[in-house]
């Protein structure tokens, strides 16, 4: 069936089987391979994308169900090719990853958290990422990265307000 998805502020029409998951559709049809497959049963969070700004598991959703929503993938987090956004840069500064497989999901989850809560406590960060598994890092540097991103975003916002 033909469906039209709003992805990263653009419209894309694809022809998929109704049973195609949003994850497979993004990866195979739209070649947005930043969302990863870790379990395909809703536990690991590697497939996280934002649906209307909220983190969601693209493996648990069929592509046709995503019609009408605003879908954001990690590919939209970079301001321009070769440039890092503030959260991405903070992840690099704190080395909040190793193999990078969980990283897109972590970044999108952090993005949503910091939009709602510009000054999260450590416990709030831990809570926010608890649905995203990382097998490499033990989470320590991911939490540090998000703390750093929060601090920098607050600084950037104050500067912008001036």
């Amino acid at each position: 069936m033909k469906i039209t998805l709003h992805v990263n502020a653009g419209e894309r029409t694809v022809d998929v089987e109704p049973r195609t998951t949003l994850l497979d559709c993004l990866r195979d049809e739209l070649r947005l391979t930043g969302a990863h497959s870790g379990c395909e049963h809703g536990v690991c969070g590697a497939c996280t994308v934002l649906i209307d700004g909220e983190p969601a598991r693209s493996c648990l959703m069929f592509a046709p169900q995503a019609e009408g929503y605003e879908i954001t993938t990690v590919e939209a987090m970079s301001p321009a090719p070769g440039e890092l956004g503030i959260i991405q840069d903070a992840f690099c500064a704190a080395h909040g990853m190793q193999c990078g497989y969980c990283t897109p999901g972590m970044i999108l989850t952090a993005h949503a958290l910091l939009k709602h809560n510009p000054s999260p406590t450590r416990a709030e960060i831990v809570e926010a990422i608890s649905g995203n598994l990382c097998r490499c890092t033990g989470y320590g540097q991911i939490v540090e990265a998000i703390e750093l991103a929060a601090q920098r975003l607050r600084g950037a916002n104050t500067e912008a307000a001036r």
Partner: protein, 798 residues
């Protein structure tokens, strides 16, 4: 020896260059590859624990939309060689698909190839196989008995390895000791379970006659093994190393997947992709870890000195041999841990059973062994009523005793265990730490302290291979680096392996930048493929800081030497009289040649080159593992890995008596891995290793029921630690450089994981000691803990 050498880039707070592509979602994983005409594979799994395949009929599947082929084991086994065994066990044959018999529940029986994965999966359900169930064996003790049904009838028994080593005067030491005690501990079967499952894309090019392989692989000699199994010349297999691997920690060794995909691609003359789903990964990806029972006798004196140890380690290898038995061999290189135990008897037994196949897991058997040794130390302390830290202090090898030869033949390079412990004790304020536990207890909580001291052997060689398999005489275990300075003067270096998060590009550029005094960010690192690569052995055995770091260092120095020779020729002086400072060559009299001038001479002015000097600025280095060059002695002693990092865990836990949930309010680790090349990377390894160790200690297990059915069918049953479970960790650093490596570095790829299970076990046992409970088995899952507490309490109240 404890002075930290001065470096500019090494040990500095510098970013990890790989991170940029990962945060942008621009990593290139095997699942991201889309070749034109690529076919997809789904697997037909055995629904029996042991059975004979009576009939096979794929006609229904073949008639389904998109299906291109169905291949079963008989066809495959006539066209490919069996997969390699570690030991000399030729009758234990393993092919990617079961041949005539299935030997564990979930074993791969057939491959269905179709245009899409969904079509292949649909068709896989329509392959009709008839089985005749056979007797099976799940338990290792039972499998060890001669009466058990052999998993491989042709092999005659389930015993793959049964060998006793006697290192030193064991009986004399036992007789002369004041005390003895015995214990048994069990390490349940778990694994590293990376978030990315194993995947491979194989592409046979019938015109070039080359098999192109892209895989999420971390395996030594992968290309050779493919070529052997496929009966191809070595130079007809091209493994591409520029694939990002989504985590491995040892297990990403999908040789059966790869040979199957290669065969299918060759047969169908199209690219073939095989990617495990999560269930496949856990049930039949052949990637489980050690599954081991330890029986220990310890002989010790009144003062706490442990004189001798007898250890039997019985490991359940699963249905095929693979490299599982070697995971009993590697720990021989640190069989006494950080202690001066005078003699050791080690009885290593590996048996087949009707469970899934084992693969290398982080530490290659060392973490279970450390858990056993550390439990022994706790028991000795308890027996003597001695402090657990004190008993370890008394038995530690002293800093001035290195290099220290242990009974099994390995010489430990360096260490300062007492100082690391002192630093940690100071950091936690030990009296206050103990007081905090006691305060928690006084408030009614079950609180306990856990201590673990252990080693991370690093710089991996494979001395366990000739030790356990005399037919294997491998002593070479090299790593390589090539550096090229182009005609514009820019530096490019090649590395010859895939990476799975270890930051090898950062490692290589940092070391080369350090030696050549160039900003590492200006140095490009590229990855070759197996046809253009120099020899290497991949990032196993915690070896890349030592081995890739060593090779980069030596290659860069070779380049420097060449530059000096060229400059000396211009200056008309001896090369020793030329200095190299940040790319500038300087004669004693003050004359200089700048980098650009040197590049120009090397690339364009052959008439200015010294005799026998090759034009251009290209160097290669192939680096053999420091130490570890001899075959084992007749009495089974050998130098295992060259370097030994040290870690000391000191933790506080509390247990919720109703749910059995373990909380870790304080986790401190003292860590000494010599010279650190990138502090962010080492920190990440340690924190990630502790999280992984926590999983092995409290959560993760591939449980089999009595019928041989694996019960962990998803991430709902096999629990990986989330951010909720993993504590905040404090790291106390120490640096004792290794005298055997180029910059004093040691490995850290297994750090944290090697001691966390022991420390957590010690802490939980300390917490429930007052109830008379003893946990002798990992993982200690919540239900096991809450059940034990409830039972103990009801006993107490009766």
């Amino acid at each position: 020896m404890n002075e930290r050498p001065k470096f500019r880039f090494v040990s500095a707070d510098r970013r990890v260059r790989e991170d940029r592509r990962f945060v942008a979602g621009m990593g290139k994983y095997v699942g991201d590859i889309a070749e034109a005409g690529m076919l997809h594979v789904a697997i037909v799994h055995a629904p029996y624990t042991a059975a004979k395949i009576v009939s096979f009929d794929a006609s229904r599947a073949l008639a389904m939309p998109g299906v291109v082929a169905v291949v079963e084991g008989e066809e495959l086994s006539t066209n490919v060689e069996p997969l390699m065994n570690g030991l000399d066990t030729p009758k234990v044959q393993r092919y990617p698909l079961a041949v005539k018999h299935v030997r564990y529940n979930g074993e791969w029986v057939a491959a269905v190839v179709a245009q899409t994965r969904a079509q292949a999966e649909d068709a896989a359900e329509c392959v009709d196989v008839e089985y005749e169930p056979l007797p099976f064996v799940i338990d290792a003790e039972e499998a060890y008995r001669p009466s058990s049904p052999p998993v491989h009838a042709a092999h005659g028994s389930n015993v793959l390895l049964d060998r006793t080593f006697n290192w030193g005067e064991i009986d004399e030491d036992f007789a002369a000791s004041d005390h003895q005690l015995s214990l048994r501990v069990t390490w349940g079967r778990s694994s590293t379970v990376p978030l990315e499952t194993f995947g491979v894309v194989a592409m046979w090019d019938p015109w070039a006659e080359v098999m192109d392989v892209r895989a999420s692989i971390q395996m030594p000699k992968y290309a050779d093994q493919i070529a052997r199994a496929m009966r191809l010349p070595g130079n007809a297999v091209r493994v591409h190393y520029d694939i990002d691997v989504g985590g491995s920690y040892g297990v990403k060794r999908g040789i059966k997947h790869t040979v199957l995909a290669c065969y299918l691609s060759m047969k169908l003359k199209q690219p073939v992709r095989l990617i495990e789903d999560r269930l496949e990964n856990m049930s039949s990806g052949d990637a489980h870890g050690p599954d081991r029972i330890f029986d220990i006798d310890a002989a010790f004196n009144r003062d706490g000195i442990v004189r001798s140890m007898k250890m039997r380690a019985l490991d359940n290898a699963g249905a095929y041999a693979g490299r599982a038995p070697f995971q009993l061999g590697k720990p021989i290189g640190a069989i006494v841990g950080p202690y001066k135990i005078n003699s050791v008897r080690y009885h290593a037994v590996s048996v087949t059973s009707n469970k899934a196949v084992q693969e290398a897991v982080r530490g290659f058997g060392q973490s279970p062994t450390n858990y056993a040794i550390e439990t022994m130390m706790d028991r000795v302390a308890e027996h003597l009523g001695m402090d657990r830290v004190e008993i370890r202090r008394r038995n530690f090898i002293r800093a001035d005793e290195f290099p220290y030869l242990i009974p099994s033949g390995t010489r430990y390079d360096s260490g300062d265990y007492h100082t690391v412990v002192d630093k940690v004790m100071k950091h936690v304020d030990w009296p206050a730490f103990v007081a905090e536990r006691d305060r928690l207890r006084a408030n009614g909580a079950y609180a306990g302290i856990g201590i673990a001291a252990c080693l991370e052997p690093s710089g991996g060689n494979s001395s366990f291979e000739p030790l356990l398999n005399p037919a294997n005489t491998t002593t070479t275990w090299m790593e390589s680096c090539r550096i090229n300075v182009d005609a514009l003067g820019n530096i490019t270096a090649t590395i010859h392996t895939t990476s799975s998060g270890q930051g090898h590009e950062t490692l290589a550029s940092t070391v080369i930048g350090e030696v050549l005094e160039f900003d590492p960010d200006s140095i490009r690192i590229v990855r070759t493929d197996s046809l253009t690569s120099l020899p290497g052995n991949s990032p196993v055995g915690s070896r890349m800081a030592v081995m890739l770091g060593g090779s980069c260092y030596l290659a860069a120095n070779k380049l420097k030497k060449k530059l000096k020779a060229i400059a000396a020729h211009q200056f008309d002086c001896a090369p020793e009289d030329v200095d190299y400072v940040q790319g500038v060559l300087r004669a004693k009299d003050g004359r200089t040649l700048k980098w650009a001038e040197m590049v120009n001479i090397a690339h364009r002015n052959f008439h200015l080159l010294p005799e026998d000097c090759e034009p251009g600025l290209e160097v290669t280095n192939v680096y053999q593992v420091p130490t570890g060059t001899d075959l084992p002695t007749a009495d089974g002693r050998v130098q295992m890995y060259p370097c030994h990092s040290f870690e000391f865990h000191c933790i506080l836990v509390t247990i919720d008596p109703d749910t059995g949930k373990v909380d870790i309010p304080r986790y401190v680790i003292g860590h000494d891995c010599g010279t650190v090349i990138n502090p962010h990377i080492v920190k990440g390894m340690t924190l990630g290793g502790i999280a992984h160790g926590l999983g092995a200690a409290l959560m993760e297990e591939f449980v089999y029921d009595g019928e041989g059915q694996m019960m962990a069918q998803s991430f709902m049953d096999y629990l990986l630690p989330s951010s909720h479970e993993v504590p905040q960790v404090e790291i106390v650093h120490h640096c004792t450089p290794s005298p055997f490596t180029v910059m004093g570095q040691k490995g850290s790829g297994e750090s944290g994981y090697l001691g966390a299970p022991a420390a957590i076990s010690g802490a939980v046992n300390d917490a429930v000691r007052s109830l008379g409970i003893r946990f002798n088995r990992l993982p200690m899952r919540m239900t096991a803990i809450s059940d034990a507490i409830a039972e103990a309490k009801s006993k107490q109240s009766n």
